[in-house]
Symmetry: C2
Subunit: 356 residues, 2 copies
């Protein structure tokens, strides 16, 4: 018996053509050559992808489930992505919709339970905001972070545009911001966490994570689709005490279902929290997509974001429940000089939710 | 004067909405927050993306050119991709169509001229095939490679599905295949090159490249969209004597124009040869797309692939010209026991082309 991992694609096709199209995907995502050219019986039986099921979803779309041989994936997360969608991503009639996560890529413990314990927040939802805009000097970002933290937010993250730019090098920016947030924490007694964004190749990611850890930080952010799947997992395994927040940039929602990419694959790389564009914001995910994504991602912390306004706190917490960090970035920054009061109002609204 | 890099998007929109949509993309790909919340004049003038031009392409599609501040990109290829398309890739109304390549990412010398010199092939097109199917033992792959090389092909590459699997570990497979090809070269006198596929995180990529170099190999393959942009460039810079072939897997053609991704971005990472699905094969690129992609990629070697049959050699060389490697994989493998003769026929067809 071959150990197989089921992968689900949505394929646009006519009824007459779907069986052949499904078989072609199964070949493309495995041996990538005409079966007539294979004379090895074990390859034909154990390695070639198998079409397991085809369902007509109506409207010219079919759900195709293919069993890929686990042996072709091995233990490399990059090769896993390659087998899931590598060449087929070049065909515009196919969406990668779902996949069974192989045992070896099952998310490690961590995520929400660990964050609840560390921050001493047993039940309610978490609050968060983002340091923006890029282009500010490190001192200005640190000042902003301190004022947000004085409002007793739970998390303050780097905008994913903050990298290692000349005007704000990581090694200067992160210690300054970490110190600013630490000052606020000493003042408020509230365990606000700063989440720096890590960028670059694996060497740079590790160096930056080391700098952040030396600042006492235990939450960091990474962009798996840019860093690469293999680098992301190596990073998360190298710093097991850190909770990694996965940012969805380059997620290309139209071709890989966010329920899979963000809800399953990012946690499988070791990320303990997943940031995603919520329904009703400036990105187009539906409530159903958001619900499935969040369910998939547990126990990773769900971090809906992308244009959330303060007046939506109640509605979003009703929808997502408490194992959530509400991330309000740009809309909080509109408060200007009143940022601490706005942050406090936000923190308070979340704390009060459900107690009414 | 701010140094800006122009980026071109194709946006589906109504006429009335396009100006606001373009402005929103310019904000999303730079400061990612409401402009009203920014009180720093330098950020507003130098960092916020600028809509430079909007053209109506008809059919509800607009071409939007945005100038991004070069300072936000810096020298990190991952951050470059992030600024080009990070968050906007999550919107399904936008395709990343083109970008001016910043000076610091201009492709290094190498590519076709270096390959011509090394292989001693001054003018004609190159031939290549691929080692498949995955699942074969290293000995079988080496045997196949030797028989192909006896047919005097110029290049024999790993299938991009060959990684570091248990049944065929890189460190076993690559030296065996390299030795097999070297035996054939001693027999034929023809400078056949073996191109192993490198996988994993940066540590693994470097280790594998070192193993390959120790086998005397000077051509290797990498998948930039899986390895990550930053890792790919670090790799190409670490092994400047190697010509790296970029494989397009995970290229998501429907969202990032292949003319840009494969034609410009992959060479900018240091790859000296780009593999792409040709028109008329099993992927859907048009002749116009292929022509522009190849023009963009020069002096990188153009490697059309994806279902090429032997009877198309003349047509494809007429179309692509001689700075090309024709990559015939699966269709050559259909020859079974006659693989050497088929490879020789292929090599001969390319050598004869244009001399008739």
């Amino acid at each position: 018996m071959t150990d197989r991992c089921s992968v689900t694609y949505h394929v646009r096709s006519g009824s007459a053509a779907i069986e052949a199209r499904a078989a072609a995907i199964a070949v493309e995502q495995s041996v990538e050559m005409p079966l007539a050219g294979i004379d090895d019986a074990a390859v034909l039986s154990d390695i070639v992808g198998k079409v397991e099921q085809i369902d007509d979803l109506g409207g010219g779309t079919f759900r195709v489930r293919i069993g890929l041989a686990a042996a072709t994936i091995g233990d490399d997360p990059g090769q896993w992505l390659n087998m899931l969608f590598g060449n087929t991503s070049l065909h515009d009639d196919v969406i990668l919709r779902d996949a069974v996560i192989p045992e070896r890529f099952r998310p490690a413990a961590g995520g929400t339970p660990r964050l609840r314990q560390r921050l001493g927040i047993p039940q309610r939802a978490f609050t968060g905001s983002a340091l923006k805009p890029q282009g500010l000097q490190p001192e200005r970002l640190a000042q902003l972070a301190e004022r947000m933290a004085l409002g007793q937010l739970d998390f303050i993250k780097d905008d994913h545009g903050l990298a290692d730019q000349t005007y704000s090098p990581f090694a200067v920016r992160v210690p300054l911001i970490a110190a600013a947030v630490a000052r606020a924490v000493r003042c408020t007694g509230h365990q606000t966490r700063y989440i720096p964004s890590l960028t670059g190749d694996l060497d740079q990611l590790r160096t930056q994570a080391g700098i952040a850890r030396d600042c006492g930080l235990d939450c960091m952010m990474v962009v798996p689709m840019i860093a690469g799947f293999a680098a992301t997992r190596t990073l998360t395994r190298s710093f097991p005490e850190v909770t990694f927040f996965a940012h969805p940039a380059m997620g290309g929602a139209a071709r890989i279902a966010p329920e899979l990419l963000i809800g399953k694959l990012f946690p499988a790389l070791g990320c303990g929290a997943v940031i995603f564009p919520t329904y009703g914001g400036r990105f187009g995910y539906s409530p159903a997509t958001c619900r499935e994504l969040v369910t998939n991602a547990r126990p990773a912390l769900a971090v809906p974001a992308g244009g959330i306004t303060l007046n939506r706190v109640g509605e979003l917490l009703d929808f997502y429940g408490p194992d959530t960090m509400l991330l309000i970035g740009g809309n909080l920054l509109l408060a200007g000089e009143r940022i601490t009061e706005q942050a406090a109002g936000f923190a308070n609204a979340v704390a009060q939710h459900g107690t009414k």
